[in-house]
Subunit: 439 residues, 2 copies
């Protein structure tokens, strides 16, 4: 729309910034912060005006915390520094012209950091994009929460023989997110909501965790995956290993072993791929669409372009990084240092990841983790997980309120946010509608 665009432009050409960062995830935000702190003018672009603290999405989906608590305004993080912000959707990057085309205006850059993160990948499974619920954005977390409670509401008014379908939940993907959401889901079922649906028999709720590989948590040592599996099975979760999903319909999940699960709700936390905007030319990419970069995180072709986080393929000790927040955060710092070096005429330095460890939480009072070579399980891993995430969560008030939520969740076994807030039309699948009634 040319009329509107003309208002934006200071001149006939695009607005110009020395350094532009695309994406306000862990990596991009850290890069922009570090650059702004050292007095560089930097423009951060994101489609949302907030940073999403992704590790707690599963807690939003299971009614533990309010979605706003893990969304922090980008402008607040950047304020009083040299950081600028543009809320826009990036449509194309033109490397030869050094221009980013967004849905709002065009931006020219000298240095560019691509930190666009990842998106859900359905691995070619038929029906997955249409019927499965992903858990990658705040909106998706709220939709999932609302769907779970909509199923409870609908089932509570049905004759027993028709309830099972609504009370079966299939979770596809046995990585950290899959394990965490299943654990939190079990705790939800054991919370005070039990008393709130007098006509529901909670034993009817069935959770199936479907994992393609032969163990859970493949990023961690086999022993820890096994510990998680045993714990989840003790909680009553139907854990199925070496099970691939062949097809998803609005009523069933069809598995590779010929079996099927009859369910209205399939949660998809199985695959991720890099979310790269349209590029003016093909850059070399790895299997999951990640941009190949030099050890300095610079693009192979353009030394003034960097890629970090889930948008980049980076190896350390001949193994690819696993895509967790600390990697992106450290890459953000390195990129800021390297651009600063380039501006001074120095050579960028290679990125080195310092692995502080990995943790996964499994429901209430339990977790697994690897700190150096030290394997932690049970309560200790659980409390460490909570502590680490509380420290990294942005915003003092958010931290305080999340702590309150956790006290309520874990000590009182309550779930504070059991609300259905999505518009009805977004919630009801064909199947749920069929059970729910006329609409």
């Amino acid at each position: 729309m040319n009329y509107g665009r003309s208002h934006w432009l200071k001149s006939a050409t695009a607005q110009k910034f020395s350094i532009v960062v695309i994406g306000a995830g862990f990596g991009g935000l850290q890069a922009a912060k570090s650059l702004a702190r050292s007095g560089k003018d930097v423009l951060l672009i994101d489609r949302n005006n907030y940073h999403t603290f992704v590790p707690l999405l599963y807690q939003v989906a299971t009614a533990q915390i309010e979605p706003e608590l893990i969304a922090y305004p980008v402008r607040t993080i950047l304020r009083r520094r040299y950081g600028h912000f543009l809320m826009a959707e990036v449509e194309q990057i033109d490397f030869s012209e050094r221009v980013i085309r967004t849905d709002r205006l065009d931006i020219q850059y000298n240095y560019l950091v691509v930190a666009t993160g990842s998106q859900t990948q359905y691995l070619g499974v038929a029906g997955a994009a249409e019927f499965a619920l992903p858990l990658r954005t705040l909106e998706e977390a709220v939709t999932l929460r609302d769907r779970i409670f909509a199923c409870f509401e609908a089932a509570s008014r049905l004759e027993p023989e028709h309830r099972q379908h609504l009370l079966t939940f299939a979770i596809v993907g046995g990585g950290a997110t899959g394990v965490e959401i299943v654990g939190a889901f079990v705790e939800l079922l054991r919370s005070r909501i039990r008393r709130e649906y007098p006509s529901l028999n909670w034993r009817e709720v069935k959770l199936s965790l479907l994992q393609a590989s032969d163990r859970l948590l493949t990023e961690l040592p086999a022993k820890l995956g096994l510990a998680a599996q045993k714990y989840l099975q003790k909680l009553g979760v139907d854990v199925r290993l070496e099970t691939r999903v062949k097809q998803i319909s609005d009523t069933e999940v069809y598995l590779s072993d010929g079996q099927k699960i009859s369910t209205a709700t399939v949660i998809w936390v199985a695959g991720l791929e890099a979310a790269i905007p349209d590029l003016s030319e093909e850059l070399l990419k790895s299997s999951k669409g990640k941009l190949l970069v030099r050890p300095t995180l610079q693009s192979l072709t353009y030394p003034n372009v960097y890629a970090i986080g889930d948008a980049a393929y980076v190896e350390q000790a001949n193994k690819p990084l696993s895509g967790v927040a600390p990697e992106a955060l450290q890459q953000g710092v390195t990129v800021a240092q390297n651009i600063t070096r380039q501006l001074r005429g120095q050579e960028p330095k290679p990125f080195r990841y310092f692995n502080k460890g990995r943790l996964a939480i499994i429901g209430c009072y339990s977790g697994v983790g690897l700190i150096g070579k030290w394997k932690v399980t049970g309560f200790l891993a659980w409390i460490m997980w909570l502590g680490v995430h509380l420290v990294y969560l942005p915003g003092l008030r958010n931290r305080l309120v999340v702590l309150l939520c956790w006290l309520q969740t874990y000590l009182l076994r309550d779930r504070p946010v059991r609300l259905i807030m999505s518009p009805r039309r977004l919630l009801a699948t064909e199947v749920i509608s069929k059970y729910l009634g006329r609409k």
Copy 2:
């Protein structure tokens, strides 16, 4: 859809409840609670699974508090009592058959309480329903918040001569809600967000409060309306009395005096009417569609049907009630007592409203109120307003967190929830899109 409906029914007829309450607002929830507490089986029906604490909606719209804090799960309030809950949309009430038809199933009743509340009424103003933003539900409050911040985001990248349109906000209606949202809006403009938009000149933001009558807060004594008006004018609000809105377009508000205001955002808090479902026969109604009732709150035609809150027209001392929460709460108690009396074979008693007073808050550190014959203004009215609303807000944790929000808002002049969470397509009007760019 007959297939689905058949699962619901215990028999060939509808499910039967002795007492049914429609609407989980202040009146309906109180009626259901009182009935359940005295051991009566009661079914409460609402389209949402939560009660909305309406008096704080304007704080959600101005980024002071999270929307979830003023939404409390109905089932939690009813649990372990005799209260049942059905999340459904009521489509029709058939008085002769004593049946409520919902989008989920049909319910038969012996006693019915209609507590369906009110909805926005656009008073026949052309374009209002299409272009103005109401503030009656939680969803509307979030949409308004998101719109305000979307305007800031868009304006921050525009040349000065094009910004004014996005930075002008017209508020239609000078009752308590209008005064409260304008006051909170001014405080928002003075909060820490000032520093977050370096390219915006906050002096350009213009707030116009349009009131049809010759003073603000017509429910309160003239002196208090004048106090509110002076305070708002001191804050820089353009207060226009005796000003009716003739028409609203996507770019302008046309006024009765021939003037127009060029704005992208019109907030409509001018009119309300009763939200009565489709009825099997016409009942007598007052001007705003409220059901006429006997002094006992019983329907004129059906002694087993009650109407309360904004759904009913009730007079006290020859003056109609004004539609505030305490009236509905007290009516809820009376209705519960009257149904109990009827069940015992006694005569229902007339409703008597005990007026504890009225308060309105005007931005930070100021308010007006009438307690008995005692007029309060300024800081005292402000702190009383906060105290009263904190006490009445359901949920201990919600109260604690709202208190935290208020400390942050009023002491630190911060606005914790300055997020844009609505999907982009819901936010952008034609006009905003035009300025925002391509999409």
